[in-house]
Subunit: 344 residues, 2 copies
């Protein structure tokens, strides 16, 4: 899933080139490239599908040259995750009705890829044998209010896989007090937004819980892979309800399981999380940029492009982010206002 | 005089395009253009001479199209003000041995141009009748430690011009304690670096007090205005002693006068002085740039170029200056370190 706009990372992330297409850590690989890299040896490139906005098709093809152009699906507008998943599920079903599927956001970070692959392979094995919906639950490390939580029924491990448990309930993004309670409870996990299932299961679920959206894509079976596909999608996709897969399906369906895992995951949703995750100097600064000099500066995130020269003196706890013709200087503590700051 | 490098205004001022060639106030006129504008009606363009570095000849000709190209003198290297003044004095003498001359830096601000012109005309009249060296002394408004001071002998106004007094002594840039004493004393004025004299007077003074430098330019009389001039200057100018006209002549010569004046002068030598002089918003911010948005920001100087978008939140008392590929963020109180910050 690569249709997001990453507005919380402005100005580094812009509507023209959002977060998933950016080398946030200065490693030379963008989020979407790291996401694809993560599946090397698990899924061959020809089985990787990218669903993104039509305006990002050029970026996707440039950043992921190994993925067949026909596997890049283009949404004419944003309709949240449920229509996105319905579309690609039908495309996959048309090719392989027995497919097992991992649904993953393209703008998350995973630091332990070996463990990630072990978990994914184990979950794929599980869904190949059962009609289960598996969500990956992340062991919480802090009372994060920016994530949804999953409550597992730890008394009921699956018989087929002792690492997988029934979901007791899904929890909305909590306030800090609730979040602190949640992380005291061993049964609570962060909802990573990574799902594993087989194509029959998700499509059955869509037929039951989101029939109108499902029909739109089921009725297009004859045009998938033809010249008519994009034209039809452009006319039909906007008719889809704007709804997340969590609301539409997961919170309603039975046979929902959670696979608690711990592979160094973050959605890197904010400058603050980048500040936490990226390598910091001895003064607690994350500096991304080749020509940055700091004096009496602490706990800052400095993010600039290669060609720019930056000198910062006397800042503590700020974001200094610069891209193209835009500069943002703001307190890390105020970053939730970046949408306001970035408004034209 | 337009050979300075304006290093205290980095990154707005760079060795490639220093302060005198920059529209610091966003008025559409650069310092050197304002300096020339200031003499409209006093000196015709063909009598205005610019002495600058050879690498700025293109900028000068572009910014001052009305000044004859032959009046733009190019120094092959920096030798402070004495050689600069010796060179242009001989060039002027070759054209008009009776010329009266105003020597002015090209990177100062004058807010009351009417009073400036009255003072200049009065001083020119005075030096046309006497062999005097006149310096313009500025009424101090604060204990500035960045300026030199002139002590006038207020008991001895000139008979020819009651506004002009003999100089008692020149004072180096003082420390704050001294500066506070100075401004208590009615006889002390800031040394503006603006001088008025006739060409005979300055050349006689150079012959006496700086003979080696004087000889270099006197010996070139035959090549001035010819193809050979630049070539000769390039080989001879570097031989000049690196010395200011203040040390070389003013502090030694007799017949030195000061014309106390008050026409809203500043050398705008620092970001802090720009902060004091430029128009500020209600929060005390000076903003130069078309697309700058401030939130909870006070007492800052924000200086950017037209095409750039800048959002600043939560800064108090900082310089945010951006030009080409360079960004500086530093406390106004630390601006004396800008040379350190700008070092490659």
């Amino acid at each position: 899933m690569a249709g997001g706009v990453g507005s919380r990372f402005w100005p580094m992330s812009t509507p023209e080139c959002p977060k998933q297409f950016i080398d946030v850590f200065g490693t030379g690989r963008t989020f979407i490239q790291m996401t694809v890299d993560r599946f090397k040896g698990v899924v061959p490139p020809e089985n990787i599908w990218v669903v993104t906005s039509e305006k990002y098709s050029g970026i996707v093809k440039a950043q992921l040259p190994d993925i067949p152009v026909s596997n890049v699906l283009l949404e004419p507008c944003r309709r949240n995750t449920a229509p996105c998943i319905a579309y690609v599920s039908w495309r996959i079903k048309a090719k392989n009705p027995k497919a097992n599927i991992v649904v993953a956001p393209s703008d998350h970070l995973v630091t332990d890829v070996v463990e990630f692959q072990r978990v994914i392979n184990s979950a794929l094995q599980f869904v190949s044998e059962t009609d289960s919906i598996v969500t990956l639950g992340m062991k919480p490390t802090r009372p994060e209010t920016g994530y949804g939580y999953i409550e597992a029924n730890l008394q009921e491990p699956s018989l087929r896989n002792q690492e997988i448990f029934r979901v007791e309930s899904f929890k909305e993004k909590p306030d800090l007090a609730k979040a602190k309670d949640y992380i005291q409870n061993k049964a609570f996990y962060w909802n990573s937004g990574i799902f594993v299932w087989n194509v029959r299961t998700i499509i059955n679920a869509l037929r039951i819980y989101l029939p109108d959206v499902n029909d739109i894509f089921e009725n297009m079976l004859s045009v998938y892979g033809t010249d008519k596909e994009q034209e039809m999608i452009n006319s039909e996709f906007p008719k889809c309800e704007n709804i997340s897969i969590d609301y539409a399906v997961l919170e309603k369906a039975d046979e929902i399981f959670v696979f608690p895992a711990n592979f160094g995951w973050s959605d890197v949703g904010t400058w603050g999380s980048l500040h936490t995750l990226a390598e910091a100097d001895s003064a607690g600064n994350n500096v991304i940029g080749q020509n940055v000099r700091l004096y009496e500066t602490r706990n800052c995130v400095i993010h600039t492009t290669q060609e720019r020269r930056v000198v910062v003196q006397g800042l503590d706890g700020y974001i200094v982010a610069e891209k193209d013709n835009t500069l943002l200087i703001c307190k890390l503590a105020e970053e939730q206002r970046i949408k306001e700051f970035s408004a034209e």
